[in-house]
Symmetry: C2
Subunit: 370 residues, 2 copies
Amino acid sequence: MSDARLTSLAASLPATVPFVGPEAQERAAGRPFAARIGANESVFGPSPRAIAAMAAASEHVWQYADPENHDLRAAIAAYHGVPPENIAIDAGIDTLLGLLVRLTVAAGDKVVTSAGAYPTFNFHVAGFGGELVTVPYNDDHEDPAALIAKAAEVQAKLIYIANPDNPMGTWHSADVIQRMIDAVPAGSLLVLDEAYIELAPEGTAPDLHPEEERVIRMRTFSKAYGMAGARVAYAIGPAGLIAAFDRVRNHFGMNRTAQIGALAAIQDQAWIDHVRARVTVARNRIADIAADNGLSVLPSATNFVALDCGQDGAFARRVLDSLIKDGIFVRMPGVSPLNRCIRVSAGTTADLDAFAAALPKAIAAANQGA
Amino acid sequence: MSDARLTSLAASLPATVPFVGPEAQERAAGRPFAARIGANESVFGPSPRAIAAMAAASEHVWQYADPENHDLRAAIAAYHGVPPENIAIDAGIDTLLGLLVRLTVAAGDKVVTSAGAYPTFNFHVAGFGGELVTVPYNDDHEDPAALIAKAAEVQAKLIYIANPDNPMGTWHSADVIQRMIDAVPAGSLLVLDEAYIELAPEGTAPDLHPEEERVIRMRTFSKAYGMAGARVAYAIGPAGLIAAFDRVRNHFGMNRTAQIGALAAIQDQAWIDHVRARVTVARNRIADIAADNGLSVLPSATNFVALDCGQDGAFARRVLDSLIKDGIFVRMPGVSPLNRCIRVSAGTTADLDAFAAALPKAIAAANQGA
């Protein structure tokens, strides 16, 4: 629009959005997807205890949520063995990233991330007038040393890394990430997005030192906890920085039912063990399906697998388009050479049966050209 | 905190928050409130159909919500008889106000509101570096002519008015508000907060002309719809401005269960009729309780009543403190002379019985001094 009442920053922002939802694709196709394995949602669902707590809370939704998130914050703090003052809760990592960018990035400030990493972070940086500086992935991994070097070079306010990574599913060990934290330049803050950490091998997350001033860590109930639609996530960081979120967050922004569900969910770690086992089975199955089609997958520490289609981005795009046409919702990385892959979320047996049935046809269609 | 990594704006913001939640007061007191009638929540709850829809949706919360809010947006548009392109949905009016301020208010821009009006709007204006300019209430009503005159004088980007008003419960007729819209100065935008409109008499809301460039209207599921904890609200405005929200909003920020609940709620207008009747009974009861104590109430077009304690703000504060000590959660306006009142939400019979029992003691205590 050309509305003279918008700020110059708002007027300059593009109308594009980070992700199109599967529902929009379903409406365009006129039918639902047969398998919803594109957004790294947990098809295995939330803890039955969380479901029961949320269902029971429905009639009480006339009450605002506790703006201090007191009980959930205490439970998360206890689970991690850190003080509640080091925990900020909000409506998903997207919200926390937006608030953090708002707190730290003024117009023209530099922010470093990897080319092809999480687009919603980039959306927030652009939305507050920050300047994104990217470094390439290295062998399908984000490159901690290159990120740090670039941050020092451009005096970045923020450095973003996801460990495990999305969209590739690869990861670095805790000691690599700890060395990265130790190397954060003065004036910079490392945003360590650990959305998938519960699904990674032991030894992937560095120990929590919440008063470490160089890093803020993001965790979520959207992935292993199976509550993407609830919008609950938290940041772990130094108490001073965590308190700053209170200056700008929507204090009454949390859904009360989600708050109650997350409290039940974090207290049912047996469910996370169950999800981990199911995800492992699904990851192996996706690898088998790939192998049946002469393709390989990248190792994954997440609830999705990057399946290497073996050619260029245009070829992978044709595979993806054919899958979507066949009712299989999947996504793919946006940047070369990552975009030789498609990204397949851990599905149920039925989801992956449908994927297995559709993939050979999709590869054949892709081989025949656009 | 003194963190050199904060923006200068963020570093300048106060640590104070607009509202303390009742849960924090309960934790401090070590016991729950007997009556929760302070936050204008609807104790009558949401539509039973909405409750059932939300309970059933709990197990599906592993899915993100549709980021386009397609079905809910279509239902809201159909209900109002306007195109969906004129509707922006987000997580409560607070979120919509924050986005609108972000889109339109740059550092130093002026914003006009009434002294004592909704503090969360002011929180957002300050949070984006805007400068608040206030005009006084006139006879316990917001003053449309004074707001418009001040906006013209200071070249305000935004003008805020709530009709019906919070915290006083008073209202202007549709023709007064329409004249206000017609008088908005060039370069300004009127934010017409109609959070309580479903509880107001016929003839309070001006006709909807969604392409009217001078106004954006805010509606919510938090009040009459009884879903404050769900966080669902919408703005009605010109399509160009509505589209601008897409540039900055969290596209996947909506709670999926809330989205489903709101869709069921708007399709059950019989429930709103029921709530209206219950609210009327409760308003009358609050007036009776006031009269029994020699006090009067302001007329109200909302689900709360401003009870005039008949003396100054310090006296009303003592009444309020005593009520809270006695387990009655109520709030009061923050600015003189509004703060001679306490604000009591429409409660159940049991809530108002508890209030009736506590009020004489609170007045006696207030008369004895602090």
